[in-house]
Amino acid sequence: MSRTKAIPGPQPSTNTAPRPSHDRLLRREPNGYCFIVTLICQFDTNMGTPNFLWNVCKSSFTFGLIGLTISDRIASIVPVRGFSMSPTFNPYNSRPLGLFNDDHVLVEKHCLKDYKFSHGDVVVFCSPSCYKEKHIKRITAMPGDWISVPYSYDAVKIPEGHCWVEGDNPTNSLDSRSFGPIPLGLIRGRVTHILWPPQRVGKIDRKQLPGGGLGF
């Protein structure tokens, strides 16, 4: 039977050279925590916090410019408030859902290149009495048409460059019957599709509504 005796002498040490602190962390707690800490240390030494902030600023500025150009030139999404266009938008029997109660529609801006509109288009325009407000109504008469003014025996001819707008819900609508024909230059876009709520997603019809003006 042989017995091994511990030989006294210089024992081989486990740490031959001084190591940096994160290595010791790795050895003592080999799990995801130190992996994340290592990543953050490398991130900090490679890029630096001011560079990161600057990059974030540049990207958000670029995306802001691109988003603004797209919403000015191509299309944008607008919520419809009020009931002047029931039942086309916000019909009375819709269930209230809080913030998402309003219809959201797609407004296309390509029509503003030539200002070519026609009867039955639903348009977004700046109010003639308060330029900061925008309204959504339907065009019911174009330049050269005759409109019969309600509650009187007059007929009004739409002047050149103007149009007559009316809401689909005539009892609850502030439109050309109050402020007269509006210049076509006030129009800011044409509504093409409903995007919310999901059960009414679809294209808008260019239907002619009975009542209102008589197109001669």
């Binding site: 670029t62 410019l65 691109i66 603004l68 150009t69 000015d72 030139r73 030539d114 200002y115 325009f125 700046c126 109010s127 003639p128 009495s129 308060c130 330029y131 002047p159 050149e160 460059g161 103007h162 509006i182 210049p183 076509l184 230059g185 006030l186 129009i187």
Partner: protein
């Protein structure tokens, strides 16, 4: 490098360059719509402020967006008679002002007075003998304003700011209109 890698490199370069061009175009659009732009002004309706053959001016859209224009400013508006045209006129009155204007200065001295309705402005050309302005198409809604002219940049002799409205309109300008019509 394999052919696929070369092709992928070219496509990536092309995408980067076109993204750069798109960014530049967006910056130009945002600047000219919301900040500052140029326009060519021509025609007899703003004599003597602008000459007949044409001048290039700088216009800014910040004042019109915040409602900071006032009477005496030269502005560019979209014509109420034809939305594809823009016209340059001077603001004579803002909403609520009472305007007295000469209806037809060539033929008579008859004047009329009216109050500018809410949300509208009254514009006239500096040369009232030869100007199609609010005296013809009525007060203009504020939403048609495109920008305010603040500096002339071409021709070089006309470089400078825009003056105030000329107090008395020169009858010699009436001769210019008659020569044009004959």
């Amino acid at each position: 490098m394999s052919r696929f890698q070369q092709w992928a490199f070219i496509v990536k370069e092309a995408l980067d360059k076109s993204f750069l061009v798109a960014k530049f175009f967006c910056a130009v659009h945002v600047t000219s719509t919301y900040l500052c732009s140029t326009a060519l002004v021509y025609g007899p309706s703003m004599l003597p402020t602008f000459n007949l053959s044409g001048e290039i001016v700088l216009l800014e859209s910040i004042s019109t967006r915040y409602g900071k224009v006032d009477s005496g400013d030269v502005v560019i508006v979209r014509s109420p008679e034809n939305p594809r045209k823009v016209i340059t006129k001077r603001i004579i009155g803002m909403e609520g002002d009472s305007i007295t204007y000469v209806v037809d200065p060539i033929n008579s001295d008859r004047t009329e007075t009216l109050v500018v309705p809410k949300g509208h402005i009254w514009v006239e050309g500096d040369n009232i003998y030869s100007s199609n302005d609010s005296r013809n198409f009525g007060p203009v809604p504020y939403g048609l304003l495109q920008g305010k002219v603040f500096w002339k940049i071409w021709p070089a002799g006309a470089f400078g700011s825009i003056g105030r409205r000329p107090q008395t309109v020169d009858p010699a300008l009436k001769v210019v209109e008659e020569l044009k019509n004959s």
